[in-house]
């Protein structure tokens, strides 16, 4: 009856909250006991909830078995076998998580076997979700293939020096490569974030000298608009191009796109150095823009390298007395908040105490941009002169000489 159903679902809920309570307090035994009661809820599963009782039992059960002091891997395996048959739609998901669990326990071969078994499973009409899950299973198997490939490769490389060649190892290594490559290639065609798979696949291709394919894969991963914007994709492409000695121009074009998407990326220092060295005016201009933009971010506040890059470029421009308008343009959008963000008296004190070189670079930039009366510059200079450090005296001379710049840019 309706009332019975209500009562049943209520007690089911209460039971679930008890389990949850026990788990959140690490009382695994208590949780396990309640779970055995909860299993009754499978009998009359009327729920239309997002996560049904059978999925609950699977998730909670594997979590409990993972932490329970008396559980063994054998028990876990038999539990998972039951779970696989409990929900056909979830079969692949359960298999995948089972493999992860085995991997966490260092059972790589068992995990591999499990994944292979799951791969041969078929049920009814293939749905889109099932298809995607199958691809994931294959990809992870590919990853394990890659793992054994790289192990064998290392053996061969080690023994290769001895002039010893083992054909069977080499044979197996190649077969691992083929298996891995086929599966990895499939998954990275689907839009998504596949950093680990892409890296392994590119490594395989590079080892066998297939640079074109590798380059194509990385380009596709970085520039296909169907994929989510992923800064790592550009980083992998940049690293690949750099490894293969590609031209500066193509490196710069990759980093330019990275700069547009993530101006705070660590590679922006390399980018700035590359641009500063360039003979083209436009690129040097871009370099200034890049380093200013990077220093906008809070993560770069105390980065000596970055401040050094900016100080060097600003110094260059001031000495040459050309392109002061570049600085002016960059400074224009920042003059209302950089003084409080970078050049406060508090920061001067802190930087001086923690990192003398940082305070030197920053003081130079502050002196040029804000004039010699700026608090940051004044404090650091006074401390530097007190400590009789030579570079601060040079700094003082330089800023005094070019004090007019500050008037021209503001």
């Amino acid at each position: 009856s309706h009332e019975h159903k209500l009562k049943f679902s209520k007690s089911k809920e209460v039971c679930l909250s008890f389990i949850q309570d026990a788990m959140l307090q690490k009382q695994w035994k208590r949780a396990a006991e309640f779970l055995t009661f909860y299993a009754e809820s499978l009998e009359k599963d009327f729920s239309t909830a997002h996560v049904g009782p059978s999925e609950m039992i699977w998730r909670i059960g594997s979590e409990i078995l993972y932490h329970h002091s008396c559980s063994s891997i054998k028990e876990f395996n038999s539990f998972i076998q039951q779970m696989k048959t409990l929900g056909i739609r979830r079969y692949l998901k359960v298999c995948l998580e089972h493999a992860f669990h085995l991997l966490c326990n260092g059972l790589i071969d068992e995990a591999y076997e499990n994944l292979s078994l799951a791969e041969s499973w078929r049920f009814g009409e293939e749905t889109a979700i099932q298809d995607k899950e199958m691809k994931l299973i294959q990809a992870y198997r590919g990853l394990l293939d890659y793992h054994s490939w790289s192990k064998q490769k290392n053996i061969l490389l080690e023994h290769g020096h001895d002039g010893f060649e083992d054909f069977s190892v080499e044979q197996e290594m190649h077969s691992c490569f083929r298996k891995a490559a086929v599966n990895l290639k499939e998954i990275i065609k689907i839009p998504g974030v596949w950093d680990i798979f892409v890296k392994c696949y590119v490594d395989l291709l590079e080892f066998y000298g297939d640079h074109n394919e590798a380059c194509q894969v990385l380009n596709e991963y970085a520039y296909n608009s169907k994929f989510p914007a992923n800064p790592n994709a550009h980083v992998y492409l940049y690293q690949f191009l750099k490894r293969h000695g590609e031209s500066k121009k193509s490196l710069i074009s990759v980093l330019k796109i990275l700069h547009d998407t993530v101006p705070s990326h660590e590679l922006m220092i390399d980018f700035n150095i590359m641009l500063q060295k360039s003979k083209k005016r436009k690129k040097r201009r871009l370099g200034l823009e890049v380093i200013f933009a990077a220093l906008d971010y809070v993560g770069w506040k105390e980065n000596v390298k970055a401040w050094n890059c900016l100080a060097r470029q600003v110094k260059q421009i001031v000495i040459s007395e050309k392109y002061l308008d570049w600085i002016k343009q960059e400074w224009n959008s920042r003059k209302d908040w950089w003084p409080a963000f970078h050049f406060s008296r508090y920061l001067a004190k802190q930087n001086w105490q923690e990192n003398e070189s940082l305070s030197h670079e920053k003081a130079l930039v502050a002196g040029i941009l804000l004039g010699k009366d700026c608090q940051y510059f004044k404090y650091v200079l006074r401390q530097g002169c007190k400590a009789q450090v030579k570079r601060f005296r040079i700094l003082k001379k330089f800023v005094n000489k070019h004090n007019s710049v500050y008037l021209r840019i503001s």
Binding site: S17, Q20, D21, M23, L24, Q25, K26, H50, H67, V193, P228, A229, N230, P231, N232, T261, V262, S264, H265, D296, Y297, V298, G299, S333, D336, W337, A340, F341, S344, Y346, L347
Partner: protein
């Protein structure tokens, strides 16, 4: 009491008036008069239609608030850590007072048991405080305080023990929903209002509007709740509603540059009906990380890789987590995130690591911490009424959450502060145990509090019972309860129909089938007229009196089984004063000399003519002694 009128009774009276419409006779309803007297200052000045609209609107609002109230989002408790390294005096900022409109800055010394130092600095505000947010910039603390129509900012200077100074107050025409303090620039805050506006508020340069859009961002959601927080770039703000998060660039004028950070939808694997409840910038853990909580899950996002969450965990809390607190872990250590819900008092601790060099992942197991209502069982037993009072006080919803890491030599612990809506601040300590597990475990489970705790508890309890004796009214806001508006019977779903009902229905159906008319079927026997209680018999041995008594009360046969009744059923004498035979003085007011059985007498009692004789005969039988 004099100023309270029950709406149910009022409604009933109004209904009665309606049915009496057109009736000449004046009818006075004192309750209605009292109501109009009480409301005389506004009732007649306002067009009734407009008033009704307003009342209706307010009730809809109150109803929505009963279901889910997002106004306390963010929490109204802040901890300002000690100024110098190694110092032990921090400051708690929280609201208090009857209307929660007093702002307190209480210095707290972190010892074995945190101890309040001196009396708190106090500010009276003209609104209930909804949120207190704080951030430290350049060694100074900036404290933002939000009430419905006002937002204020205080500065607490760097020197230990320096008094807080109010800096600026802004007024909004619609309620503000969010106030966050910039961790990057001194005196900078962000404000959101229910009209969908997001402002960057600088104490020196004033307000800058970054967006004004009453519509939600990704799909239609009716809630006017908005939130905003800071990001890794001091000029870029995140802006949220229940459907997701966007990043807005303050350097570009309104409606310009923005990018999507989080969307309730497929990319994040969201459930149906999932809504953003609280976003938080996790800058102290990693410059580009953000936390987003929904009623089902917790997400960690990176603004460099938008839309795809780095971490997702289903928290399974019963109420949506309205409060969150981050304790950054420093290099090589886990970041600790506390999540708390308001009404259920749930409190969860989760730890995660990674984000820059390694993948983001949860470390250890999420842990449930004790709610303050659950500590009642560990406290000494009280008298029942005190126990009840205590129970009520301790079950108040959570209003704020704060935490601090206390390092005491090698021993390290996490102090968790919670503010209840009744204005109490609770504290629990989680000690780090290196031996057993890397995760800190709670030592609050000790069965009895220590002597210091017990002393403080007694003091608090004393103050509490004293305060409650003086003001029996509760300090927290009155909630609109539906029980007041509708009686229980109104809300009750009709139970199973009685057999009479079904019988009636069946007959109706039958009548309709036959095309006949509906007869007055066997109605339940008309209730017998209420009989007057028989006079107490004085002489118990008098059989006549006892028989007569039995006859009056209707169980005649029981008393005289041998005698056949004269009329079918009990005698239908009109239930007036019992006219007793002469053996006993009649209790009737009738004069003694008049024959009670005379025609005139019987007629005036309404006994029909044909019955009078029967009655007379009947009673005369009993007049003779047996």
């Amino acid at each position: 009491r004099d100023t309270t009128i029950r709406v149910t009774a009022l409604m009933e009276e109004i209904e009665r008036l309606e049915s009496r419409r057109g009736c000449r006779q004046q009818h006075i309803a004192p309750r209605l008069r009292w109501f109009s007297y009480l409301c005389r200052d506004w009732l007649y000045e306002m067009p009734l239609g407009l008033l009704a609209d307003c009342v209706h609107e307010e009730m809809v609002l109150q109803w929505a608030n009963l279901l889910f109230d997002d106004s306390p989002t963010g929490g109204s408790l802040a901890w300002l850590p000690p100024k110098d390294v190694g110092a032990h005096t921090g400051c708690l900022v929280y609201p208090g007072g009857q209307a929660m409109n007093h702002l307190y800055f209480q210095n707290v010394v972190l010892e074995e048991l945190p101890r309040a130092q001196g009396s708190p600095a106090q500010f009276e505000l003209n609104g209930r405080i909804r949120q207190v947010a704080a951030a430290r910039v350049d060694g100074e603390d900036f404290v933002g305080v939000r009430s419905d129509y006002h937002c204020g900012v205080w500065r607490v200077p760097g020197r230990t023990g320096a008094a807080p100074t109010p800096l600026q107050v802004i007024r909004t025409s619609v309620p503000a929903t969010c106030l966050t303090v910039s961790p990057h620039l001194p005196g900078e805050l962000s404000v959101c209002t229910q009209s969908g506006a997001v402002y960057l508020w600088n104490v020196e340069t004033g307000l800058q509007r970054l967006r004004h859009d009453p519509q939600t961002m990704y799909f239609l959601d009716h809630s006017p709740w908005r939130w905003s927080d800071f990001t890794a770039h001091p000029r870029v703000l995140s802006c949220a509603d229940h459907t997701g998060l966007q990043c807005l660039d303050a350097r570009v004028s309104t409606g310009g540059c923005h990018f999507n950070l989080f969307k309730v939808g497929e990319e994040a694997g969201c459930q149906q009906g999932e809504r953003v409840v609280l976003p938080m910038y996790l800058g102290k853990a990693h410059p580009s990380q953000h936390l987003v909580t929904t009623q089902f899950s917790v997400y960690v996002l990176d603004e460099r890789l938008p839309l795809v969450p780095l971490l997702k965990w289903a928290h399974m809390m019963k109420a949506p987590p309205l409060f969150a607190h981050l304790t950054p872990g420093g290099p090589g250590r886990n970041h600790k995130v506390l999540l708390a819900a308001s009404h259920t008092q749930e409190l969860l601790l989760l730890q995660y690591q990674g984000g820059s060099r390694s993948a983001c992942q949860l470390v250890g197991l999420p842990q449930k911490l004790h709610s303050f209502a659950s500590c009642l069982q560990h406290l000494p037993t009280q008298l029942p009424h005190r126990h009840h009072l205590l129970q009520q006080r301790l079950s108040a919803p959570v209003a704020g959450l704060a935490a601090t890491l206390q390092e005491d030599g090698p021993r390290e612990s996490l102090l968790v502060f919670q503010l209840s809506e009744a204005g109490d601040v609770f504290c629990q300590r989680l000690s780090h145990e290196t031996v057993e597990t890397p995760a800190p475990t709670s030592d609050e489970a000790a069965p009895a509090p220590g002597p210091a705790e017990a002393l403080r508890y007694r003091r608090w309890l004393k103050a509490l019972s004293k305060a409650c004796g003086e003001h029996p009214q509760q300090a927290w806001t009155p909630a609109l309860s539906q029980r007041r508006l509708f009686t229980r019977r109104d809300l009750e779903t009709p139970g199973d129909p009685s057999p009479l009902h079904s019988q009636a229905r069946q007959r109706l159906r039958q009548a309709m089938r036959d095309g006949g008319c509906i007869r007055c079927w066997d109605s339940p026997a008309p209730q017998p007229p209420v009989l007057p209680q028989p006079e107490e018999t004085l002489g118990t041995g008098d059989p006549l009196s006892s028989r007569l008594t039995a006859a009056w009360s209707g169980d005649w046969e029981q008393c005289a089984p041998g005698l056949p009744p004269l009329s079918p059923g009990p005698p239908s004498v009109p239930p007036q004063e019992p006219s007793l035979p002469r053996t006993r003085p009649p209790a009737s007011p009738l004069p003694d000399d008049e024959d009670p059985l005379s025609s005139q007498n019987l007629r005036c009692r309404g006994i029909p003519k044909e019955r009078r004789k029967t009655l007379r005969d009947y009673l005369s039988v009993w007049a003779e002694p047996p």
